[in-house]
């Protein structure tokens, strides 16, 4: 072969050396990358990833997402904070994701520490190690990541002003099961408070202050909870007696709220993954909070008050993000986008340029009463393939208890419209194990499914030649802090399984399918959602036993979890299944999210009486969130003047 002469092999040497002089180093070798399932998760190098010169930054922040890349990269919060931190020239925020089990094995075997995607530098070198806490079942991954980084798990074992471990996100509203491992939790919106704490750290570093002094000072910033500064006492029956602050820490820590969504920081660009992730699209946050007080929904209470962005700002932010990412889909995100007060006007405005630019719009979820053919025409949805709604409960009685103000009539009207428009697949989400639930309430889920099927056959304009498919999905209810059901003892796994059997055993139509989701994972979620500091020992044990990725069915190992509880002498049912007394002190009572305990108590009592509560737009229920003096709470009052 003519190729094999000396000259070409010299050329080939040359060609082999494809390292640009300024090429970013990869933290892992080619051989290791080729040995795992999706190497693209571990290499970084995305468009808009922020690179800085480490010698020119003063504070380095490792933003850790305790799940795999594809999930973390689809999360909105990380994009906002990544941009906000990196705007400051002397801060550098990098991303870290949990390595999937195959890569974790390789890293352990080859002694490779957890690293940040941008620089490839070990996480152990960072000033801050920040976790977003979205889900109780990701806690083991948090600890696993610290372990992979080679960082002592317990905050008390990290003595220096370095490797400050911080956490934020919804689970920070009761972070007690993680309290021993974290130095700081951020309560509420992170855009401002995180930066203030980083700035304080920078000053402390300059003035050569110690970690303890830094934490004492940080605890004075609103929205900062330093768990080590609180002593916990317990009653003989195992419940909490008191939280006592030390060293000037506030008795009650208030969450931070960014009131003006228009002036709040929003990124103009974010890293665009090179590989397919869960959501390959732009997320534009159009509002924060929710006007509806569904009693099971923690987010609905945590993120009060309801605050909208103006159309002008949304329009400008969408344009900027399209220009920086090249995505052709914008998702108008929030807890409940159909509640945006001028949704049609907003879509009109965006349509002025999105159609021309071949960009489509989508809504993350649809409310049963927010569905109209016109709206569906104008937003991108997986056309005709399937529609999803969440009535949450089968009977009207049950929906009143949970304050899901959706009627059967509305649902049947909506699906009827959908059938006329050509849809044939409807998926409905429900919960089982709700407070006061009876067998009849459970069976009403099937009846509702049946009525949807009947609505299809009764519709004269339904698509010809197609059968209807109704998928009913039932998740086990998990009571959460800061909701009216925070006192409720979760159904035991036996009761939940019995209810699941009722569901699956009584399907009378071939057009209906029923699926349910894990009683065991929900049980564990319930334990940690309302747990206290004594669970830290269980967490540690679980990680020691190799538990991780508990949110993934193929990794979840319930029996091992029970072993971990047993080994620590802790009864998980105490946390999950025990109905709590109305006067019980909760492990999160010293954290203040605006919504008062009195209000939640009143809502709990109303629930048991089957009384609904109007949404914030209809009538203020005086939940306490007015204390922030902003958002809808105030606008409503101005309207009334």
């Amino acid at each position: 072969m003519d190729l094999q002469d000396k000259k070409t092999s010299e050329l080939s040497c040359d060609l082999h050396d494809n390292s640009d002089k300024n090429e970013r180093k990869l933290a892992l070798s080619h051989k290791i990358l080729m040995s795992v399932e999706k190497p693209g998760r571990y290499v970084g190098g995305e468009v808009n990833a922020v690179m800085k010169d480490p010698s020119k930054v003063e504070v380095r922040f490792a933003f850790c997402f305790p799940d795999v890349y594809e999930i973390g990269m689809s999360h909105l919060g990380i994009k906002i904070l990544y941009g906000a931190f990196n705007q400051v020239p002397y801060f550098w925020c990098e991303r870290v994701f949990a390595p999937w089990v195959d890569m974790e094995r390789q890293m352990v075997e080859h002694n490779i520490p957890l690293y940040a995607l941008e620089s490839g530098d070990p996480v152990g070198e960072f000033d801050f190690i920040g976790f977003t806490l979205q889900y109780e079942l990701s806690y083991t991954n948090v600890l696993r990541m610290l372990e992979l980084a080679g960082i002592p798990l317990r905050a008390a074992d990290r003595k220096d002003l370095h490797n400050i471990v911080v956490g934020g996100g919804p689970c920070a509203c009761n972070p007690e099961p993680l309290a021993d491992f974290f130095d700081i939790f951020f309560l509420g919106d992170g855009e401002e408070v995180d930066l203030e704490v980083m700035e304080l750290y920078r000053q402390c570093k300059k003035e050569e202050k110690g970690k303890e002094e830094f934490l004492r000072m940080a605890a004075q910033i609103e929205g900062v909870y330093v768990p080590a500064l609180y002593d916990v006492a317990y009653n003989p029956d195992g419940t909490v007696r008191s939280y006592t602050p030390r060293e000037g820490a506030p008795a009650v820590v208030k969450k931070r709220v960014v009131l003006d969504m228009d002036s709040a920081y929003y990124p103009e660009a974010f890293p665009v993954p090179m590989i397919e992730v869960v959501h390959s699209r732009i997320a534009e946050e159009v509002l924060r909070g929710c006007i509806r007080g569904c009693r099971f929904c923690q987010a609905g209470f945590l993120y009060r008050p309801f605050r909208e962005k103006s159309i002008d700002v949304i329009d400008a932010q969408c344009r900027a993000l399209c220009a920086s990412t090249g995505y052709d889909e914008i998702s108008l995100s929030s807890l409940s986008t159909s509640d945006y007060s001028r949704l049609n006007e907003l879509i009109d405005r965006l349509h002025q340029w999105t159609e021309k630019d071949k960009v489509s719009l989508s809504l993350p979820s649809l409310r049963v009463d927010g569905f109209s053919p016109e709206l569906m025409e104008r937003i991108h949805s997986v056309r005709k393939s399937g529609l999803t709604f969440a009535p949450e409960a089968g009977s009207q009685r049950m929906r009143d208890v949970i304050n899901k103000n959706v009627t059967e009539e509305e649902l049947l009207h909506t699906v009827d419209v959908a059938f006329t428009e050509g849809w044939t697949r409807i998926k409905l989400y429900f919960m089982i194990g709700l407070p006061t639930e009876t067998k009849e309430d459970v069976l009403a889920i099937l009846e509702l499914g049946k009525k949807v099927v009947d609505a299809f056959y009764g519709n004269k304009e339904k698509p010809k030649g197609k059968a209807v498919e109704v998928a009913l999905s039932a998740a086990a209810f998990v009571p959460k802090p800061f909701t009216p059901f925070q006192w409720f003892g979760q159904d035991t796994m036996e009761v939940l399984r019995e209810k699941q059997r009722e569901l699956t055993g009584n399907v009378r139509s071939r057009r209906i399918s029923v699926s349910y989701h894990g009683a065991k994972t929900s049980f564990l979620e319930a334990v940690f959602a309302r747990g206290d500091r004594r669970l830290c020992a269980v967490m540690e044990k679980a990680v020691e036993m190799g538990l991780h990725f508990d949110g993934w069915d193929d990794q979840f190992d319930f029996d091992k979890w029970m072993e971990a509880f047993e080994a620590c002498g802790i009864d998980p049912a105490f946390y999950a299944n025990r109905t709590r007394g109305l006067d019980e002190v909760f492990p999160w009572d010293h954290l203040d999210y605006g919504v008062t305990k009195e209000f939640l108590k009143a809502e709990y009592e109303r629930a048991y009486k089957g009384l609904t509560t109007p949404n914030c737009r209809e009538k203020c229920a005086n939940c306490g969130a007015l204390c922030y003096k902003g958002g809808l709470c105030v606008e409503k009052r101005e309207d009334m003047v």
Partner: protein, 218 residues
Amino acid sequence: MKNVRIWFKKVGAARYISHLDLTHCMARALKLSGLPVWYTQGFNPRIYMTFAMPLSLGTSGLRECMDIRFTEDGAPLEGVAEKINAHLPKDVVVWGVTEPANKLDAIAFARYGIRLETEGSALLKDKIQGLFARGPVTVMKHGKKGDKEFDITPYFSGMGMEELGAGCLALTVRLPCSVSGGVNPGLLLEALKSYEGLEPCGEITREMLLLEDFSEIS
């Protein structure tokens, strides 16, 4: 309408993304480039792109190409590369833009570089030479119609070999590579494993796409 051939390399971090992921990166960059790219017609218009030959996950490509179309006949080619590069990941780099001379389906071969690295084996070279001297080297070839035994000797026995240092070898080999199929350079690594029990780190680079007469496609 004008046909345009885009020449690019896919190296570094970008080696680890699939061909489909690459097409998405390219589509986003072309969209942002502001160039007069032609979209396919129909219900769901997409930027027209035809790639010469997909690269396997993990393989670098240095002189890869793809075809697009410009809506205007007179659109200049100067400055096009910069406009696309501004929106591509750092490790996907457009380095040339031409009007195509050959059809993409005229590609028949490709030249590959294989860099083998193993801990402390000056014997690597001898082992490879020995392997092909002994006679047929069969591995399982994974094809559309299932796996079958395949003798790689005719394809690899004459490859170029250069020692770059202790335990580090640079190989050069030309293999069939066309729309109707080809020989995967990774088969050599499989043979080394099954015949010699060697599992060196093997980094494969596709250096050039060739026509029937071994000249580079243009």
